[in-house]
């Protein structure tokens, strides 16, 4: 009976979704979809503020709110929260910081590759500085001479002259470098990154190795890497916070359990939502979980330690809560349990005091200047939760000026980021698609059998025209991919209603592709041109015709670089059920290592230098090394 009900429900969802998508779905209708999805029923264009971070002015009179959706800083009265002004900045800002003299705000604009400099007296942007690829975090040195900018795509920290914006150098950081936090004394900067570092060359377990990450510690005076704090088994690091005495540091991070089959959600087996403690108070880093059975802390992001060091606060995006931790009990636990307790679902009861429900997708945290209240930026409902830290209750929810209606896209995005639809609220789409991208990991999903069909996670930008989905091409469309499949194999529960699924699908289908930094407006470089010729060639270097099916451009054709068909390219592993694999799109392929269906190629080069011995994945073995480099230079422009 239950099965029949399930089947009927799924069928209904699929039909409704298919109808919606048929109406709006194909390439010719895309503009219509986007417009409809972003407008209200009355035709009003809906732009949501999407607050991500907050700062108080030096005198504490103003609250600056960084709004990612509306590309601006909203300036509020710090007491009344009344809006005073809006300052436009670059596109999709991710974080900001105040100069030490309080006269300037620096904003990292991710899609512009710029830093906005805002004068806090005039409240206007006074300069725009170019930096690396996808700047995501920014902090000024204590002496006001240098500005450090974490670049997510170029995986580095750019060091700029804080007065002129001139870039002095770049420092190698972790993969997906994103957030910068100065130590309380300003001597060091702590940089986190959102994608795991590449697997080491010497790993004997192939690509199925535990992720490793780091906190890159930068000596602010010398602008060099002073240390790298290892984050073992951590794939994604987010915000760092320090106690005022500088003795306790904490980073919010995500610990995937991707080396075991993803079949244990009901046992808390997909992710551990953890924080890692470091600094003099703990000695070696200690990882502690925030999860508790049936009360998960999905995707810890923001972190703040109370000025008196009594409590630690962590915002959890997917669970839509702020966790309150007793620091004294936390340190006692850490000393008694060195290393990692990530999988111990009983651990958090030792130090978590309470969980405070806040808005959707809570991100940045900020204490009011007197320290009595904690503000929480709720990105996906345009609110700021005000928590009284004495009672640990939300005493006010500030609604930023924003559309009152929820568009299809907005609802889809809310669905993408929440964990409320999964069994016991353990995971959401964004667990594996960090900030709507990918996670750099390989997974063993259950439907193919345990230990079978290890799969690499793909980027989900610009997906229209790339179906079917899954590496075996088994899912014909997104409603199937995101609906029944996700409910059965990921969520372990049926919680989407038909409209929610439809909105989610519309959101995913409308995720735009980020700018490709390696494709210059003036055209391809000579090396890229040579690579393009190799990509399109029909004759090998010995003058022998290359069969059409063995040319790069045969399988990877069209604007997205996929024929949407499956082929055997000779990469089947003993654990694979089939040699036939869906042709992946090439969208921003340079960013999405590892490669191949199972992530066995750590770099683009390895696709051909290691995994193409018989030329089944295109004719490449006639190429010299410099020609292969040219081919890769071209692919990096896709």
């Amino acid at each position: 009976m239950r099965d029949r009900e399930q089947t009927r429900r799924r069928a209904a969802i699929t039909v409704v979704a298919s109808v919606v998508l048929a109406t709006v779905g194909t390439a010719s209708g895309n503009l219509g979809v986007r417009a409809a999805a972003r407008t209200s029923r009355t035709g009003e264009h809906l732009v949501y503020a999407s607050p991500v971070e907050m700062l108080f002015s030096s005198d504490g009179a103003r609250l600056y709110v960084l709004c990612q959706g509306s590309d601006e800083i909203r300036v509020l009265d710090a007491r009344s929260f009344a809006e005073l002004k809006r300052v436009s900045v670059g596109h999709i800002p991710r974080s900001f910081s105040l100069s030490h003299n309080g006269t300037r705000i620096f904003v990292a604009n991710t899609w512009d590759d710029t830093v906005s400099v805002v004068d806090t007296r005039a409240l206007k942007e006074i300069a725009t500085w170019s930096v690396g690829a996808e700047p995501s975090g920014v902090a000024e040195s204590r002496d006001g001479k240098r500005l450090f900018v974490a670049n997510r795509i170029s995986n580095d920290v750019a060091v700029l002259d804080a007065q002129t914006g001139e870039e002095q150098k770049r420092i190698a950081a972790g993969r997906g470098a994103s957030y910068i936090t100065p130590s309380p004394d300003g001597a060091r900067l702590y940089v986190t990154h959102v994608y795991p570092n590449p697997a080491r060359e010497d790993t004997s377990g192939g690509n199925r190795v535990a992720p490793r990450s780091e906190i890159t510690v930068v000596n602010a005076a010398r602008a060099v890497v002073a240390d790298r704090i290892p984050l073992v088994n951590i794939a994604h690091g987010f915000r760092v916070a320090f106690s005022r005495d500088g003795r306790l540091g904490v980073v919010a991070n995500l610990h995937p359990k991707n080396l075991v089959p993803l079949a244990h959600l009901e046992h808390g087996g997909a992710f551990a939502d953890t924080i890692t403690l470091f600094g003099a108070d703990v000695g070696n880093p200690v990882e502690v979980p925030l999860d508790e059975l049936e009360r998960y802390a999905v995707r810890p992001f923001g972190a703040a330690i109370a000025p008196d060091k009594t409590h630690l606060y962590i915002s959890c995006e997917g669970s839509e809560i702020v966790i309150v931790i007793d620091v004294r009990r936390l340190l006692a636990f850490a000393h008694a349990h060195p290393g990692s307790s990530a999988s111990n679902l009983a651990a958090s009861a030792n130090y978590v005091m309470t969980r405070i429900a806040v808005g959707r997708d809570p991100r940045g945290l900020a204490f009011t200047p007197e320290g009595g209240k904690l503000l929480v930026a709720n990105r996906l409902d345009d609110t700021i939760s005000v928590i009284d830290v004495h009672t640990n209750r939300v005493i006010r929810t500030v609604q930023l000026n924003s559309p009152s209606q929820i568009s299809v896209l907005r609802h889809g995005e809310q669905t993408f980021y929440t964990a409320r639809h999964s069994f016991q609220g353990q995971i959401g789409c964004a667990n594996c698609h960090i900030d709507s991208t990918f996670d750099g990991l390989t997974w063993d999903l259950e439907p193919d059998g345990f230990g079978r069909d290890i799969v690499d996670n793909r980027l989900i930008e610009d997906l229209r025209g790339t179906e079917p989905y899954k590496w075996n091409g088994g899912n014909p469309n997104l409603p199937t991919e995101c609906g029944p499949r996700t409910e059965m194999y990921f969520w372990r529960s049926e919680n989407y209603d038909d409209l929610t699924l439809t909105d989610l699908v519309v959101y995913i289908r409308n995720l735009p592709r980020r700018p490709n930094r390696l494709r210059q407006p003036e055209g391809l470089t000579p090396a890229q041109e040579r690579g393009h010729a190799l990509f399109s060639r029909a004759v090998d270097k010995f003058g022998k015709p290359i069969p059409e099916s063995n040319r790069c451009s045969f399988c990877h054709n069209g604007p997205k670089g996929t024929s949407q068909k499956s082929f055997d390219v000779g990469t089947r592993k003993p654990t694979d059920n089939s040699a036939l694999l869906d042709t992946p799109q090439l969208t921003n392929i340079a960013l999405t290592a590892p490669y191949l269906h199972d992530g066995s190629a750590r770099t683009l080069e390895e696709i051909w230098t290691v995994f193409n011995p018989e030329d089944k994945h295109g004719r490449t073995n006639d190429l010299t090394k410099d020609e292969l480099n040219d081919l890769i230079e071209y692919l990096r422009t896709r």
């Binding site: 002095q168 010497d202 510690v217 890497v225 002073a226 750590r602 770099t603 480099n629 990096r636």
Partner: protein, 355 residues
């Protein structure tokens, strides 16, 4: 030129009265496996402030706070044999060329680039040099350049340069020019501004005899190059060369203080002074005089000899010498020197009271 002549006259006069020229005197402290090195065979040495890096046949060692720490392949190092080292002075990162690829050591993290996982032309990396945002690499199959901003690799070989042989032994990159020491193909010069290549060859061809001394590069088998103060210093297995852009001056054992023509490395200090790492000891040239530091080939005891401008050789009493006469490299730490040899690493501590 006048200054040089004056010095020559003074030194000649001093020599006539029997006084040996003042040359730097060192007390050598030698490190081996017994004192913490992972291997006695030290290919390369690099000074980074208070730290000293040693590329050995069995790992990369760093001497810091009077203790050695070793990085191996288990830490991510490309290969156990570390042939060359370079420091990115801006970032503090150390680049290590190995027999199995190129590694970057940054804040304790090692990232490795190989011919399979990257655009590196070949895994045998004889030389590496960092200039600005570019890492220049000398390999057994040509040279290459990694742009750290874009991640792009550019390869240089017989197809796009005047490189007749692709066995590149050394590279030295500066903001204006990049020089490559090519084993069997002379010296290559790349102009960073114009993108043009130039090639310097032995006018005697591949003839082992020197028919045209000071007419060009001393030999085609170039092992090392150093470019400083607009002067090129080149080391070969058959003597060494100095080139000022117009004139060549070559050094052979028979007419200089060079202890051997077989030179593994040359490092110019400035336009006039250079250090030579040979198979028969370490040599220093101050523009006029030569000093050689080694274990005596006859007595087996430490020796320091000084050869003045007139060819007069004087022995200086010393009690220590570099760990071995087969010297592979040198680097400088203030007044001190660090010397990589085939049987240990030596720290030459400058003795200021010496005459």
């Amino acid at each position: 030129m006048k200054k040089l002549c004056a010095i020559l006259v003074l030194l000649a006069a001093a020599s006539a009265f029997g006084a040996a020229p003042k040359m730097p005197l060192y007390r050598f402290e030698n490190f081996t496996v017994a004192t913490g090195l992972p291997d006695n065979h030290v290919f390369s040495v690099l000074v980074d402030g208070d730290r000293v890096w040693a590329g050995t046949e069995n790992g990369l060692a760093v001497y810091d706070h009077h203790a050695w720490k070793t990085y191996t392949t288990a830490d991510g190092l490309a290969h156990r044999a570390v042939l060359s080292l370079a420091l990115d002075k801006r970032t503090g990162d150390v680049w290590a060329g190995t027999m199995g690829g190129l590694s970057r050591i940054s804040g304790g993290r090692i990232d490795t680039f190989t011919q399979l996982n990257s655009g590196l032309s070949n895994d045998v990396v004889y030389g590496v040099s960092v200039e600005g945002e570019n890492v220049w690499v000398a390999t057994a199959a040509g040279a290459c350049q990694l742009d750290l901003h874009t991640g792009q690799w550019s390869l240089y070989n017989e197809r796009n340069t005047p490189m007749n042989e692709i066995w590149v032994y050394g590279v030295h990159a500066t903001p204006t020019k990049v020089y490559f020491a090519v084993w069997g193909s002379g010296l290559l010069e790349y102009d960073q501004k114009t993108g043009k290549w130039d090639k310097y060859d032995d006018p005697d061809g591949e003839n082992e005899m020197v028919l045209f001394k000071d007419q060009g590069l001393i030999h085609e088998i170039v092992t090392s190059v150093s470019y400083v103060d607009n002067i090129v210093w080149a080391a070969t297995y058959f003597g060494d060369s100095r080139y000022d852009g117009r004139y060549w001056h070559n050094f052979l054992t028979k007419d200089s203080g060079l202890p051997s023509n077989f030179t593994n490395q040359v490092k110019g200090l400035d336009a006039n002074r250079a250090w030579f790492s040979t198979d028969k000891g370490l040599a220093y040239y101050d523009g006029v005089n030569w000093a050689v530091y080694r274990t005596s080939l006859t007595t087996g005891k430490p020796e320091m000899t000084v050869r003045d401008a007139l060819g007069k050789v004087t022995s200086v009493a010393v009690t220590t010498a570099p760990a071995h006469n087969y010297v592979l490299g040198i680097d400088f730490q203030g007044d001190d020197i660090w010397v990589a040899t085939a049987k240990g690493l030596s720290h030459g501590i400058r003795q200021h009271e010496a005459k």
